[in-house]
Amino acid sequence: MTTRDIVGPLLLVENVSDVTYGELVELEFPDGTVSLGNVLEVNEDVALVQAFEGTRGANPSQTKVRFLGRGLTLGVSRDMLGRVFDGLGRPMDGGPEILPDVQRSIHGSSINPTARDFPDDFIQTGVSSIDGLNPLVRGQKLPIFSGSGLPHNQLAAQIARQAQVIGGGAGDFAVVFAAMGITFEDADFFMTELRQTAAIERAVLFLNLADDPAVERIATPRMALTAAEYLAFDCDMHVVVVLTDMTYYCEALREVSAARKEVPGRRGFPGYLYTDLATIYERAGRVQGRAGSITQIPILTMPEDDKTHPIPDLTGYITEGQIILDRALHRRGIYPPVAVLPSLSRLKQKGIGPEKTREDHADLSNQLFGAYARGIQAKELALILGEAALSDADKAFSAFADAFEDRFIRQGEHEDRSIEETLAIGWELMTLLPRTELKRIKDEYIERYLPGGAETAEETADAEEVTAAP
């Protein structure tokens, strides 16, 4: 067995026998360092090996390659809670080795679609722009699309800290955190946040930081999800998995693909990026007959804030919605800077309503969306024509949009709003609009929940005059 070529993270090994696709490989470089890899392709007696920890120090003549006869696995156990691992699942917190309950392939198996249970338990994150408008449910995968310099880490940490299921059946809770290519500072921020609330005891962390080998990142989210599946479906826990940053993950995939000289798809990313991402994101969910669940919050930074870039684009096609952060809101000092209009939670219809949140939730959130969209339009119009050119109704909507951003979207990093508080703010904002414009809300809810009850019509007329004043 000899290594012939070394190209980037790949080694071409000749004269191999009994090698299988996906097999785990141990590499020993001339300086004695030992690292891991796996088989990407095997053609007769030639194997293409991807080295997870890079090929620095390798040379063709003296590199020893051992095929281990099994795929890449992770030994999982309940004892992983509270521990920190590297990107390949080896403890890095100085603690003892994990005594695995069972070894699992990190690739998992697809959940049989007929065995899935539909996610419909509302998770209260305490963040109005999410709970009120784009609610998260157990078993959902809801990514945060962000850009460099935006507070996505704060938001993800806030969700991880505050997330709870209201009502009965709260169950055991755990957080699995997978860092791919982020800086030590970012990882440290999460650990500190989790430590402050003692949530670290319920957390498992997998860290592949910016200075760790890039190819290792391809294994990291799969390690994390293998641990999450064990906790969710063997230990009946409700697991929130934070994957950050998926952009670096995809770039690692591109690096390997380029080294293999594969035909590239858009922006040089491999044609199988969609399928590959699906094998990660689709591991979220609930399974019939098991108490636990996996909820995923992947974070990705959009290059140049471009939503049509292949990474956010393909992610959006797999995940059940997206929370998009907006630079303009951030510049105006609004936290969390959630761009409400393009954000979406596809599963919200199932997670809200009577017995889940409240009967008026769906109608109210539709109306808030519609009114905010119209307010934004009115403000754009005012920019061109001046405030005075707006109709009375448009003025009301414009004022509504400002109040909405200031009171509904804006909240503190440690402010945990209950769903009732969130809805109450929404209804309060409704008083800024003429009642005839509340077309998306059933009359009975307007009567029941709109502050002011019967006299509302006159009140809104007043409000209109106030906002119409220069």
Binding site: P113, G316, L341
Partner: protein
């Protein structure tokens, strides 16, 4: 048949396996790979080396592993037991797999497409001695309360019925014989098989005339699809494509629905699986699953099976068409199918066409959509006085253009072959205008074909009203640009009324809430009625304005709120008459000096 040929793997690269020693196998033959017997299909041959796309995860396979050719192409089993079933891309019943391997799909498990144990009551409708040919109905299996499965002679054989008996049979048992003219005897069974990549034969294609009613107003009135036609829904993510498709599956007036979840989300399939059994088919009063076949190959299931799934689905659809049913097939999403083709093509190291897609992308897409259509089937008519048996397959394919870019190859190649385009737009979805179908970009080339039907079944003015509304919407988009620049006040009163009416069309007609019981379905007659009310307001508003009524009073007329809510009043025509008389009184009386008209 020759003994099964056996080869050995020489190369494994992802879902693609190359094996040698398969010189006698043919393109698209089905093979079994490795000790676990994973299913695969030959997609390229060089000498005795065959490239095989494997329908399952290939980890653990290596050179030297055995490949056995089955000598037959990938086929589906057609017969009783398909209704309500959930299959993967190669017709493995997912329920049966769940029993075998639990909640997670294990490798190498398999189960036949049709249950071998189930017994079905067969009632023969022909007698011994009758002359039959391929496609002729020889009996009925009442599969459930909704669907009567017509058992047909498989295409390609004809002769006299030797013997036949009513009774209960499994799908494999012989229920009768057919004796060909050369005295060869064919066993007749409840089940037949058909290779998925070959369209099932029919007598001839027919031109289309009847609408596929969906109850979704923007579709039925503005951009209708015909039974046997093909439509395309693109949708950048978040535009509500899936909801639109579910609506069609739930409400369309087809007897059978085939839904292919091709490379889409697992939870979405779960949603269908959990919701359809709960839903009542508005036409039969029975659960919707009774007339539905699902093919579920989610995005994380093997990519090669995704490539096969659309063929599996459409072959099943054609089978029901051949019985004389109208079938609607939904493929969600054909982009994922195209991507599967691209992935396999890349592994074959083929020279790519646009954006890495294979050069044959356009051909494959066109060939797939061409399997839609209304046909005169093989075999005799269902009723003695009819001339022929007719059935149809309507195809609604969704595409998921990257970044919402409609110029990409999958969309462009699809638009060349489909006649209806429902342009879902995320911008409309942000404004919560659902269904987010852009009325200015979408089109239906079936309008002229459908008009005679509308005239007969709805009203003489329906088409004219629809066109009038389209014109108003078009005018609105032009006026909106002007008003953006110089303000609404700069428009003439007539133009302002046009803007208001167009807004009313958008909000009170086009917008439809799929999750509200009183809004999700509107019959054609009620759709026409709604248009009538909206246009009456428009006409009266113009009239009142001309006679001196101030615009503000017209726009603030109390009846407008009633118009806005008219769509929720479903099928009660009283409500419409009431609104209409209110329009007459309010718009005129409020105008002061206008007086009676």
């Amino acid at each position: 048949m020759a003994e099964l040929e056996q080869g050995r793997i020489v190369k494994v690269a992802g879902p693609l396996v190359v094996a040698e020693g398969l010189a006698r196998s043919r393109m698209y033959d089905l093979v079994r790979v490795g000790d676990e017997g994973l299913m695969g299909e030959i997609i390229e041959m060089r000498g005795d080396r065959a490239s095989i796309q494997v329908y399952e995860e290939t980890e653990g396979l290596g050179p030297g592993d055995v490949v056995v050719s089955t000598g037959a192409p990938l086929s589906v089993e057609l017969g009783p037991g398909m209704m309500g079933a959930v299959y993967d891309g190669v017709q493995r019943p997912l329920d049966a797999l769940k029993v075998q391997s639990g909640a997670f799909l294990a490798r190498g498990v398999s189960a036949p497409g049709l249950d071998r144990e189930a017994r079905w009551t067969f009632r023969a409708t022909v007698d011994a001695g009758d002359r039959v040919e391929g496609g002729d109905v020889i009996g009925i299996v009442q599969e459930n309360e909704v669907i009567a499965l017509r058992i047909m002679v498989p295409p390609g054989i004809d002769g006299r019925i030797g013997e036949i008996g009513s009774g209960t049979y499994t799908v494999e048992e012989t229920l009768g014989t057919l004796v060909a003219d050369d005295d060869t005897e064919h066993a007749l069974k409840l089940m037949q098989t058909w290779p998925v990549r070959i369209p099932r034969p029919y007598r001839r294609k027919l031109s289309l005339a009847e609408p596929l009613v969906t109850g979704t107003r923007v579709i039925d009135t503005f951009f209708p699809l015909l039974k046997g036609g093909a439509a395309c829904i693109p949708g950048p993510f978040g535009a509500g494509k899936t909801v639109a498709q579910h609506q069609i599956a739930k409400w369309s007036n087809a007897e059978v629905v085939v839904f292919i979840g091709c490379g889409e989300r697992g939870n979405e399939m779960t949603d269908v699986l959990m919701e359809f059994p709960e839903l009542t088919d508005p036409y039969s009063g029975q659960p919707l699953m009774r007339r539905t076949v699902l093919v579920a190959n989610t995005s994380n299931m093997p990519v090669a099976a995704r490539e096969a799934s659309v063929y599996t689905g459409i072959t099943m659809a054609e089978f029901f068409r051949d019985m004389g049913y109208n079938v609607v097939l939904q493929a969600d999403s054909t982009s994922r199918w195209a991507e599967a083709m691209r992935e396999i093509s890349g592994r074959l190291e083929e020279m790519p066409g646009e954006e890495g897609f294979p050069a044959y992308l356009g051909t494959r897409l066109a060939a797939f959509y061409e399997r839609a259509g209304k046909v005169a089937t093989l075999g005799g008519p269902l009723e003695a006085d009819a001339e022929e048996r007719q059935g149809s397959v309507s195809v609604v394919g969704s595409v998921s253009p990257p970044g919402g870019d409609l110029s990409e190859p999958v969309v462009q190649n699809t638009l060349r072959v489909v006649k209806v385009f429902w342009a879902l737009e995320d911008r409309l979805a942000y404004e919560r205008h659902f269904p987010a179908i852009n009325w200015l970009v979408s089109y239906s080339l079936y309008l002229d074909k459908i008009t005679p039907y509308w005239r007969e079944a709805v009203s003489d003015e329906y088409r004219a009203r629809r066109d009038k509304c389209m014109e108003l919407l078009q005018r609105e988009s032009e006026l909106a640009e002007i008003s953006r620049l110089v303000g609404v006040e700069a428009l003439s009163p007539e133009e302002q009324i046009i803007m208001e009416t167009a807004k009313s069309i958008r909000e009170d007609f086009l917008q439809q809430n799929a999750f509200r019981d009183d809004d999700q379905f509107t019959s054609l007659v009620t759709q026409d009625r709604l248009l009538r009310v909206i246009l009456l307001f428009h006409e009266k508003a113009l009239q009142a304005q001309a006679e001196g009524a101030p615009l503000k009073e017209i726009f603030d007329a109390p009846v407008r709120e009633r118009i806005a809510r008219a769509k929720y009043t479903t099928e009660e025509t009283d409500v419409f008459s009431q609104i209409e008389s209110d329009i007459e009184t309010q718009l005129v009386a409020d105008g002061g000096e206008a007086g009676e008209v």
